[in-house]
Assembly symmetry: C2
């Protein structure tokens, strides 16, 4: 059996930055929605890219900012160990040209589709757990 | 580069059933919430276990049923290939004693904590994508 141990904020952000992919969680037409994306962590901001027609980007455009959760995890499926980190915070389109260009240089979408939005998620609330042998 | 291809419902449920772990997505105090859990797929129902104090279980108890999303994915982080499946549907506590006992036999929580709720998520809406070399 495995036990869960809460992780501190710094450790959570370190683990989040150690993996390229996570999942952005938001509401779309009053339904819970989730999309895997790749990310980078820049200080207290999780940066993702999306296409302007994408569900999150269009919500963020309509309302200026939207509260999302962003989750990443790594599990050993045999050993039942691993970790999960969830960031909850405001997501905003990054419109500053210099920041936008910098993130576009650093973060390359996996999918061969136009990704003309850069979105920053503030790490307002950061929680995480480690699953380790009990 | 990788391209995205939509998957049919049957293939999505097959992929979901092929992995032990996913992430349940719901709203908690008007904020998006996400928790990794292990699951099984029984026909058109995704079955998970939770502790009664758990956020999802308490929401489901209060309102009888709650709409959630359930996501699973597998990615090759080097090749940028993989798949993601999202089920959106009503989550309900399974209260029928026989079904509850059957799922408790089949689905064992990873974490050494009391998991006295069995929750079924109806596969009302099933979407999925495969990421393959373009």
């Amino acid at each position: 059996m495995t036990s869960m141990r809460a992780l501190g904020r710094d450790r959570c952000l370190q683990l989040l930055a150690s993996v390229p992919v996570g999942r952005v969680v938001f509401s779309m037409r009053a339904l819970p929605a989730i999309r895997p994306v790749n990310h980078l962590v820049d200080g207290n901001t999780v940066v993702i890219r999306s296409n302007l027609g994408g569900a999150l980007a269009s919500t963020a455009t309509q309302s200026g900012a939207v509260v999302v959760a962003y989750e990443a995890d790594t599990f050993d499926l045999d050993g039942h160990t691993g970790w999960t980190v969830v960031v909850t915070g405001t997501a905003r389109l990054i419109l500053d040209a210099d920041r936008q260009a910098r993130y576009e240089r650093l973060l390359h979408p996996w999918v061969d589709e136009p990704m003309n939005c850069v979105i920053g998620i503030d790490c307002d609330l950061v929680t995480g757990y480690e699953l380790a042998p009990a």
